[in-house]
């Protein structure tokens, strides 16, 4: 197989066992021939032991011991498969309300979200919750699969009703690209192979939809942002004066000769060279990892951001974020946290909880000021020094933060700059 221009697409699947999520993933892997013989043997044996007829596709995604015992998914699990068109990474996340944190985690880097609806039940609370999180995390593409069509006689009417229900509640959410597909994960209809039972559906199967989504524009290529991770100073014979700013381009495009500013100092210079490993390149763009050298000898260190002179982020010490609480320990009022933003770190304080979101009804509650595991709220944060911020809607990489509890070192919250 030749190496080609195939892209990588990351997608997340939200849903519970009852929606047939594990079966769907099993079906994708199985029908795209991504299951190996020894995995198949092991799953067949387990299926037989449990008394199932044939192969239980859901078992392909079975994870840790506790999960198998309880028949649930506890944590985000990553799966991989490749077709002739793309490489796929699935962030398989549990759908129960107590696992909002995992869904948020899986959604944070996804190009697409696949949301499952049971055709017999239509839109339920869980559907709304998953859609809300997909929109909150600004996942560029949403694919709604109406599953178990075989149990409603592959009825077009049932399908259309569910789409109607979805359109109704989702009009309140910000979504760019939504598609609907009627499927049966169990029987294989419209997952990888076209269904023979739904002549009325003329659009692509799930796999062909995933293969053809336009994802090149998912990363912001307009606003150039380069967070410096570390500075390379080889001090060897050949590279005595070399000082390379190493990092991964968060967004935008950089070219040799570009006039740039180093933030927060604001000193300006021009790009002298851009390297990818040993290879020097004329231009580089997100999400490439590069080393950039500047014409002038100005002070640059980890946490700084190199941007274009004429396009700069906001520098702010006080800002609003949509915060998702991820930790068992609740938020401590006026407690100090470390905020991580790109390669930068500052101390931070949550000044105020503006309102909490009910993620099932989308209602705001401005009375309740406490934050516990899985809560989502708009808060005001104050940091010791300014951060170089963009809004999360404009830029996922420079509009996102995490909070770390200084007493436990745990990641306790994730925030999206409003």
């Amino acid at each position: 197989m030749e190496i080609n221009n195939n892209q990588l697409l990351r997608f997340t699947t939200a849903g519970s066992v009852d929606d047939g999520k594990s079966t769907l993933i099993g079906r994708l892997l199985y029908d795209s021939k991504s299951i190996f013989e020894d995995q198949l043997e092991s799953v067949s044996a387990t299926s037989a032991k449990k008394g199932h007829d044939g192969v239980d596709l859901a078992l392909f995604t079975d994870g840790l011991k506790d999960e198998r015992e309880q028949g649930i998914t506890i944590d985000v699990a990553y799966r991989y498969f490749t077709t002739l068109k793309r490489k796929f990474i699935i962030a398989d996340t549990p759908g129960h309300i107590q696992y909002t944190r995992n869904m948020v985690t899986g959604a944070s880097t996804a190009n697409a979200a696949v949301i499952l609806i049971d055709a017999r039940h239509g839109v339920i609370e869980q559907t709304k919750r998953h859609s809300f999180i997909a929109s909150l995390l600004n996942i560029p593409h949403l694919i709604v699969c109406v599953n178990k069509m075989d149990l409603v006689d592959f009825s077009e009417e049932v399908y259309n009703n569910i789409i109607g229900q979805f359109e109704e509640f989702s009009s309140k959410l910000l979504m760019k690209d939504v598609r609907f597909i009627p499927i049966s994960a169990l029987k294989g209809d419209n997952v990888v192979n076209r269904s023979e039972h739904m002549e009325w559906y003329q659009n692509g199967t799930l796999l062909s939809t995933l293969e053809n989504l336009h994802i090149s524009s998912d990363i912001n290529k307009i606003d150039a942002r380069f967070p410096v991770q570390t500075v390379l100073r080889p001090q060897s014979e050949d590279f005595r004066d070399y000082r390379g700013c190493a990092g991964r381009i968060a967004s935008g495009i950089y070219r040799k000769g570009d006039e740039v500013a180093v933030l927060p100092s604001g000193f300006t210079s021009k790009i002298r060279s851009i390297n990818v490993g040993e290879q020097e390149v004329e231009e580089a763009y997100a999400p490439m990892s590069v080393a950039i050298t500047l014409e002038d000898d100005i002070d640059v260190s980890r946490g700084d951001m190199i941007v274009k002179k004429n396009n700069q982020p906001e520098q702010e010490q006080e800002f609003d974020v949509m915060l998702c609480w991820l930790n068992n320990g609740a938020m401590k009022p006026r407690a100090k946290y470390t905020v991580m933003h790109t390669s930068n770190e500052e101390r931070a304080m949550i000044k105020e909880v503006v309102y909490k979101m009910d993620i099932n009804t989308f209602e705001r509650d401005s009375e309740d000021k406490g934050l516990a595991m899985n809560d989502i709220a708009r808060v005001k944060i104050r940091t010791t020094r300014s951060l170089m911020l963009d809004s999360y809607r404009d830029n996922r990489n420079t509009g996102s933060i995490i909070l770390i509890d200084e007493s436990t070192n745990e990641t306790v919250a994730a925030g999206m700059v409003v």
């Binding site: 990588l8 840790l64 995992n102 390379l232 991964r248 490439m288 990892s289 991580m340 994730a414």
Partner: protein, 301 residues
């Protein structure tokens, strides 16, 4: 006009380089766990790219089980010399001699469990706060839930239910004295990706990966190489076969497959047609359904 998107191999490379640089920035004394296998060779190659034109700023650490393929050791030493990096060896044999661990008995005896102690001892002795590994999430189901930055407590243990959530590109490597991290820069690569990349970059790998003639014994559905450690069981006979190895582990348990693939080109072709996972040839993972999970909890790679 130029295109402004990466192909999947470039994106995986970029992600791995990002993680390696993050390790360097967030830890005091990181090492690369180097087994001489293709995955750790790949990680080392990526580290070279991440820090060019500087030298790789990490030492390589080899947990030596004593049951090595001689080819692996030669390869390791050559690479160390070429890269001018420091080598740290943690020896399982020494752990046995010191009485820290006892050798397993029986036909399928391996030093897999033993190396956990050696690894954790070496980490403690050398004050290592981050060990970078070549683990991949597609290898085994317990690995599918592993983070890029994986936190270990002061006993070196992994608690799968209490991992730090990892969002966007924000990696939290904060740790207290005595705790350490494992970092997995090639988490998102599959076996196929690794081979395609090795071919693309023309990375040097040990000759064992290429088809060659070798004396072997058929055991547990694969060809186990004849070595000084191998004891023949009843009914087993030594045969000469054209084989190659898909993974390089302990010489006593790593099975080869019959193959004519003697170039990278042919290997890539063979792997893409392969219908069995690479760990399917390793008897250590066949012991029980949760063999890997159990070992990881105790502090395995």
């Amino acid at each position: 006009m130029s295109k402004y998107y990466l192909n999947y191999l470039d994106e995986l490379e970029s992600e791995a380089i990002f993680i390696l640089r993050e390790v360097w920035a967030q830890f005091e004394n990181p090492v690369i766990l180097f087994s001489g296998g293709k995955d750790s060779i790949l990680v080392t190659h990526l580290a070279k790219k991440a820090f060019f034109p500087s030298k790789i700023p990490f030492a390589l650490m080899h947990v030596d089980k004593g049951h090595n393929f001689p080819e692996t050791i030669k390869f390791r030493d050559d690479l160390i010399e070429e890269l001018e990096v420091k080598l740290i060896v943690g020896s399982v044999q020494e752990s046995i001699n010191k009485g820290r661990v006892a050798e397993e008995k029986g036909k399928n005896a391996t030093r897999n469990a033993l190396q956990i102690t050696t690894l954790l001892d070496a980490i403690e002795e050398n004050k290592i706060d981050c060990a970078i590994g070549g683990g991949r999430r597609d290898e085994e189901k317990a690995r599918a839930k592993e983070r890029f930055f994986s936190h270990r407590d002061d006993f070196g243990q992994w608690d799968p239910k209490n991992q730090r959530p990892e969002l966007w590109n924000l990696l939290n490597g904060k740790h207290f004295e005595g705790e350490h991290f494992r970092a997995f820069p090639i988490s998102n690569w599959t076996e196929m990706d690794v081979w395609n990349y090795i071919k693309r970059e023309n990375i040097k790998i040990p000759s064992l990966y290429f088809a060659h003639e070798r004396e072997v014994v058929f055991r547990s559905n694969s060809w186990i190489p004849v070595s000084e450690y191998l004891r023949l069981e009843e009914g087993e006979k030594i045969e000469k076969k054209n084989i190659r190895f898909r993974t390089l582990g302990d010489i006593t348990i790593t099975g080869g497959i019959e193959s004519d693939a003697d170039t990278l080109e042919k290997i890539v072709q063979e792997v893409s047609a392969m219908r069995k996972t690479e760990r399917g040839d390793r008897s250590d993972d066949k012991r029980s359904e949760t063999a890997m999970e159990d070992r990881k909890k105790q502090g395995y790679f």
